[in-house]
Amino acid sequence: MDVVDARTAASHRSQGERWDEARALEIITEIKALDGATLPILHALQEAFGYVPEEAVALVAAQLNLSRADVYGVISFYHDFRRHPAGRHVVKLCGAEACQSMGGAELASCAERKLGIRMGETTADGRVTLEPVYCLGLCAVAPSAMVDGKLVGRLDETSVETLLAGLEA
């Protein structure tokens, strides 16, 4: 991953490499010269490992000359950063107003029933994490979702069920 990719990659990958301190250090070293490098670094770590492991906090803090509390504070502030691995698939259903007007809440209930979990949870087999997202900018083709980083619009209960059933184990 070159620097340009690293600082602008949004973390949509749900599966990552195993934690490896040398690899993490390599990622941090590559980006840390940027002004305001904390978010780009955290995005890159999550892109690599699928989440921001506890071990990364001290490492980032030391490299950026910040306190561990500072780094932890950033990770916990932003909804995107995960402190634990997600399921093998991540389904983000839009819960904002435009999707609500097209039955978004009913779709969320349908997905919860189908997966047997609540919003924000992961299935026991680790297959799917279901999360709300507040607006994908697909408000004129609502309701919408992001499935493993891929966007889908004009959803209804049938297409949501098909979509969930199609996610590999």
Binding site: V4, R7, T8, A9, A10, S11, H12, L34, D35, G36, A37, T38, L39, P40, L42, H43, L64, D70, G73, V74, F77, Y78, H79, D80, F81, A96, E97, A98, C99, Q100, S101, M102, V133, Y134, C135, L136, G137, L138, C139, A140, V141, A142, S144, M146, G149, L151, V152, G153, R154
Partner: protein, 518 residues
């Protein structure tokens, strides 16, 4: 003969199957021995017709939509034959929904290949930058002031005044920051433009840099917009190669370069000072003003922070002159606004028009009413912090002051339509819940008030001591409105109070005296 076919790569088009259509087009054309050149553009903004396929003809582009992968075979047969097809919409330029618009900012969106700077240039791109270089910073500032352009993020602050403040501020390093953290539900203009005409934003930022003496820029894009991030990364690299960005902007003595940065799912980072905190690598917590970002912004340096649409309006203003821009509009709202029509609406999409259309024209006439076919009950204008307007306010003109006079706001131009099945007490609850989820936590009215508000609405919906709890909710909203540090806590009362005022029956009360909140 090769047939030119245009198909959008906009996220909304892709979300409803444009990539599948592209794949089948290539396969079926080859099978039929038809030579096609498929050009992936941005979206025209006629979202209900997406995926929209356009075919070049001597008379102009002919549109077909909405095209599914299953329609491609018959579409290719018709292209090879008479051109007739059930999905044919006629010449794209003659589609009334498009023809009625005044496209200053979105003139090229859906027309050009957003990955080609040559295509951008051959469609009038970079004329504004060249003009800016020839007239110089002072004249650029004057033109922006004269255009009457106001911040398109929602606050409506005059852009030219902001730029002049930064130009006059002393500092070895100044910055241009583009706020592309378009978090409001019902808005997608930034996303569409970044995906469909990314060089326009780069040109606007370069002009801003020249005008105020800034050599570095940042575009802060939300992570929910992966296609826009990719488009801007590609465009920035391409602009650098073409010499538009770099040590010598378009061969001039001015240097300007920019970086794309990605948010991390915090709505409050759309607030300018929270965005600056986030860019600096911290929690996106709102800063108290003063100091203004124009004096002490990013990394403590003088900073122009503008909404994406404000920056994207600049090349037209410089190229065509401020009068051409200011000649259209309504009252103090000059120029055009890309109105985003969304939610439960028949003809949803992006409609760029001069300010002054009434809400009724937007919803009934342009939007065509609800997609469900049921009566329109409420329309939320301006995102999650915007008021819900009932039909009796449909005569409100789309204008900053007119909406403010009716306790609403136009915000970033999003219009979300709800039919008669909406429960307005539930919408009021959501507004407060969203504020609780997204509050940065810095000020008490927003951090605590939002949660107490959810609890109070729950008691009202449970019909516990309704009169007293409605009075409590009004009082709480008043505190949040007057006591919050930024628009998140300060404007969350708009959807709540408007729901209560115009739809009291959903709260189990006959009518609500709104004086307390005014």
């Amino acid at each position: 003969m090769t047939v030119q076919i245009f198909l959008s790569r906009d996220a909304a088009s892709v979300a409803v199957g444009a990539d599948d259509v592209a794949a089948v087009l290539a396969r079926e054309a080859e099978r039929r021995g038809i030579a096609i050149e498929l050009i992936r553009t941005g979206s025209r903004g006629l979202c209900w017709l997406e995926p929209l396929v356009e075919v070049a003809t001597p008379a102009g582009r002919v549109a077909y939509g909405p095209v599914s992968a299953a329609d491609v075979a018959s579409l290719l047969d018709s292209i090879a034959g008479s051109g007739d097809h059930p999905l044919r919409q006629g010449l794209t330029a003659e589609i009334p929904w498009l023809k009625r618009q005044t496209r200053f900012t979105f003139a090229r969106c859906g027309v050009i290949d957003p990955r080609s700077i040559d295509d951008y240039r051959s469609h009038g791109g970079l004329v504004g930058l060249e003009a800016a270089l020839s007239i110089g910073p002072e004249a650029v500032l004057d033109r922006v002031v004269q255009s009457g352009l106001r911040g398109r993020g929602g606050a409506g602050f005059p852009t030219g005044i902001k730029w002049k403040t930064v130009a006059q501020a002393a500092g070895p390093q100044k910055y241009i920051v583009c706020n592309a953290d378009e978090g409001d539900s019902g808005t997608f203009a930034d996303r569409m433009l970044m995906e469909g005409d990314p060089f326009l934003l780069i040109e606007g930022m370069a002009i801003a840099g020249i005008a105020v003496g800034a050599t570095r820029g940042f575009i802060y894009i939300r992570s929910e917009y992966p296609h826009a991030i990719a488009a801007l990364n590609a465009a920035t690299a391409s602009a650098r190669r073409a010499g538009v960005l770099g040590q010598s902007v378009a061969g001039s003595k001015y240097a300007f370069d920019l970086e794309v940065r990605v948010g991390a799912g915090a709505y409050v980072c759309g607030e300018e000072t929270a965005l600056l905190e986030s860019l600096e690598g911290r929690r996106g917590q709102v800063r108290a003003k003063p100091p203004l970002p124009a004096h002490r912004g990013l990394f403590g340096a003088p900073t122009v922070i503008n909404n994406m649409l404000s920056l994207a309006a600049i090349p037209f203003i410089i190229a065509e002159g401020p009068k051409a821009y200011a000649d259209v509009g309504f009252g103090r709202s000059r120029g055009t606004m890309p109105i985003q029509i969304a939610g439960n609406v028949k003809h949803g999409g992006l409609f760029e028009a001069a300010f002054g259309l009434t809400l009724g024209e937007i919803v009934d006439d342009i939007g065509g009413g609800t997609l469900s076919g049921r009566p329109v009950r409420a329309v939320q204008v301006g995102g999650p912090l915007g008021a819900y307007f009932p039909r009796q306010l449909f005569d409100t003109p789309f204008d900053y002051e007119a909406f403010a006079a009716r306790d609403g706001l136009i915000g970033h131009g999003g219009v979300v339509v709800f039919d008669d099945r909406v429960d307005m007490a539930a919408q009021a609850r959501f507004a407060l819940e969203f504020c609780a989820i997204e509050s940065c936590g810095k000020c008490t009215p927003c951090r605590i008030g939002s949660t107490r508000g959810v609890e109070t609405v729950d008691r009202i919906r449970g019909r516990h001591d309704v009169t007293a709890n409605v009075a409590l909710l009004q009082d709480l909203c008043q505190t949040m409105k007057l006591g919050s540090l930024c628009a998140l806590g300060g404007f969350t009362p708009y959807p709540v109070m408007s729901a209560l005022k115009y739809f009291p029956e959903d709260f189990g009360v006959a009518a609500v005296h709104s004086d307390a909140a005014e």
